[in-house]
Structures are given as C-alpha cells and as structure tokens.
Symmetry: C2
Subunit: 196 residues, 2 copies
C-alpha cells in the first residue's frame, strides 16, 4: 500500500514536472534557444566536454550553461572561466534536476542573447532520465572506464539518449575489456537508434 | 504542496524501510553473519573488487553475495563463477536497493552456512546512501577516474561511508588531476573520519 501511495505521488509529481517542462520548452523556443540535457555517471567527463565545446563554439554560437550538483559551485566556476554565463543549481540531497529548478535557472540567464543552453544534470545514470526539463535533446556520456555493459544494466538512461558519446577514449587502449562495438550492441538492444 | 506530500510519503517509506532493515539486521545477527553494503558510481569496480575479495577469502571465510542492478544477471553470474552463492535483484527502474528487496534475497541465501554477506548496491552515488538495508558497514568505492572532487560534490554518500576505498589506482599515474590527498581532505570536510 505504501508502495502504491508512493507511485501515485510520483505520477502526480511527474505530471506537474511535465507541465513545467513544457513551459520551459516554450521559453527556450520563444528565444530560439536550443536546450541540451547532458547526463552521465558521476565523473564521466560532462564538465570537461562542455569546457572543450565552449572553446570550439566561441565566436560562432552564443552559449549558456546550467550546472546541477548536490553541492559546490565548482562546475559553474569552471564554465565561467571560459567567459560563458553559468548558473549553478545545488540540489542538496536530490539526485536529479527537475523542471522547476530549470525554470528558476533559465530566468537567471540572458536567453535573448543565447543560441544554445547546455544543462549539466547531476551525475547519476538512473534518476535524471525520468524527469523532462524542457530540453530538445538528451546527450548521454559513457566513459570507457565504466565498462561496455552499462547500456544493458542501466536501460532507462540509455533508452532516453538522443546521442551517446563515449568519453575518456584516450584510456581505451588500457581498458582491455571495453569494446565500443559491444557498448553499441547493448544500446541497440534497447531499440535505441541514436548515433554513438 | 506536492513537494510536501512527497516528503511525507518519503518519510513514511523511510520509516517502513528502517523497520525492515532492523529485521534484516536481526536475521544477520542471529546467524552471526557480517553484512557489508558496497556502494559507488556505476562501473567504479564493485564487482571486480568482490571477485578479488572472494578469491582471497576462499578457505577462510564463507561468503555470500546479493547483487543489485536495474537489469541483467551479469554480476551474479560473475560471482557464481567463483563458486560463491549469489542472488541477483533486478530493480527495473529503481535507483537503489531497499530493505524489503534485501529481505527476500537473504532468505534465498544459506545464511547458516555463511560468515559474510556482501551486498552490491545499484551503481549510484546519491540515492542508495539514504536507505538502510540492515548492513553492519558501508564501503564506498571512488574510482580515481571520477575526479578527487567527488566527496565534496556527492556529500550524502561520502558521509555514510564507514570505509572509503580508492579504485583503479593502476590508472592514477594517468589521471594528472587526481590527488588522493585532495580526495581525503574533501572526505574529512564532511566530518567523516573513516579510513581511506
Ligand atoms: N583521461 C581522461 N580523463 C578525463 C576526460 N574527460 C574528463 N576526464 C577526467 O575525469 C574526471 C571528471 O571529469 P569532469 O568533467 O569533472 O566529470 P563530470 O561528469 O562533470 O563530473 P560530475 O559533474 O561531478 O558528475 C576529471 O578528473 C577529468 O580530468 C578524458 O577525455 N580523458
Ligand atoms: N584499470 C582498472 N579497471 C578496473 C578496475 N576495477 C574494475 N575495472 C574495470 O571497470 C569496469 C567496471 O567494473 P565493474 O566491476 O563491473 O564495476 P561495478 O562497479 O561493479 O559496475 P556496476 O555494477 O555496473 O555499477 C570494468 O571494465 C572493469 O574491468 C581496476 O582496478 N583497474
Ligand atoms: Mg561536472
Ligand atoms: Mg557490478
Ligand atoms: Zn533516485
Ligand atoms: Zn524475515
């Protein structure tokens, strides 16, 4: 019974979240901003990827970043060091970002002056996949140090991916049990046709 | 309001969980079994550590394993290949093990014939920390590939650790920005005196 009660509450929260997510998407669309939700396990390299991407995009596209972590401003600080506006969300103990947090954060960004907003979710290969934030696309990072069985073992996240990026591939020669083809096979087994 | 409702339900679930956890602990204690809860980010090396540990303990202590994953029997299979009884829990979409799942699993293990039960939790550096399973100790793995800022950024998990193990230290020479001392400083900042 307690389980059923929790499921009902969760469904209520999800539909409230979906309404707020749609509202966020309307904000992004009105300003012609593409919103990308970046998800991965802790430390797979989301912020490192963003730092590289920002340097590549400088001068061509105007980028803003929303950072999600339980604690610290570390990641927002790293982004700002590249001259890019970044809003840090600290969730305290929550394991994922939700649409309401993103709504507050997007109003703290100069949306009219931006082309893309990257949202770096809390490092977690499970929970963030279930909460729409109003993004247009989900990018999931899988570090080769985590093992090529991750899509099979964490299917909810990998089903949600519009693009799967393998990270830390400089370490691939050292990871004798990681085969990119096996990771892709595990992804396809979830009926996900996203590029890898 | 919905948030408050969710918090109440969560508190209800937690206290139901705590009762079941106490019941599990009584089971373990009655059989003189030490129960250890192993937690980390996905792919930090929990199963690899267990495989090595089992080989080391063979002939001295009798070990059983409870494996938690969203999907697949992979990890239980890896354990059984070492001649050790293993029960696989597949949570579907749940991001952590709870005491009820452990109760079912421990009744599927020959507790009278065991000295230690290792519980490998779902790979997640947030949610598992909040659910008592009836274990006697929490061991948290931090892979050096994840970055030495993880205790600061995922404080709930690292506060719960009775022992912090650094994993994949063979890769330490390649991770030029991971300093074990910085990871330990971040852990101590949470007022956690656990050995590293
Ligand atoms: N070898 C190698 N290390 C990398 C690469 N990308 C990131 N790292 C390292 O991985 C660790 C974590 O990188 P971050 O960018 O902070 O990872 P993150 O996913 O943002 O981490 P959280 O936000 O805490 O979940 C750091 O020590 C980085 O130096 C890579 O391509 N190769
Ligand atoms: N270099 C190196 N790789 C390791 C070490 N331990 C584990 N790995 C690799 O890390 C990857 C994941 O290892 P697992 O033992 O499956 O990790 P896990 O924490 O059980 O993963 P999940 O149960 O899926 O969360 C595999 O490719 C292992 O070969 C280590 O000490 N050094
Ligand atoms: Mg980051
Ligand atoms: Mg495992
Ligand atoms: Zn969760
Ligand atoms: Zn019982």
């Amino acid at each position: 019974a307690e389980g059923a009660g929790a499921i009902e509450i969760l469904e209520g929260l999800l539909s409230a979240n979906d309404r707020e997510a749609a509202h966020n998407r309307a904000h992004f669309d009105r300003h012609g901003v593409l919103a990308v939700n970046l998800m991965s396990a802790p430390g797979a390299g989301k912020t490192a990827l963003l730092e590289r991407t920002l340097d590549t995009l400088t001068g061509t596209l105007r980028v803003g970043v929303i950072e999600g972590d339980l604690e610290t401003e570390n990641d927002a600080r790293r982004i700002r060091a590249h001259g890019v506006p970044a809003v840090q969300i600290t969730t305290g103990s929550a394991c994922h970002l939700d649409a309401h947090m993103i709504h507050d954060a997007l109003h703290a960004l100069p949306l009219t002056a931006l082309d893309i907003v990257f949202i770096e979710n809390v490092g977690n290969l499970v929970c963030p996949a279930s909460f729409d934030l109003g993004q247009h696309a989900n990018v999931v990072l899988l570090s080769v140090t985590e093992g090529d069985d991750k899509p099979a073992k964490y299917p909810v996240m990998f089903r949600a991916a519009d693009l799967l990026l393998l990270s830390k591939i400089d370490l691939l020669p050292l990871m004798d049990d990681f085969a990119p083809a096996r990771a892709e096979t595990a992804l396809r087994a979830l009926a996900n046709t996203a590029p890898v």
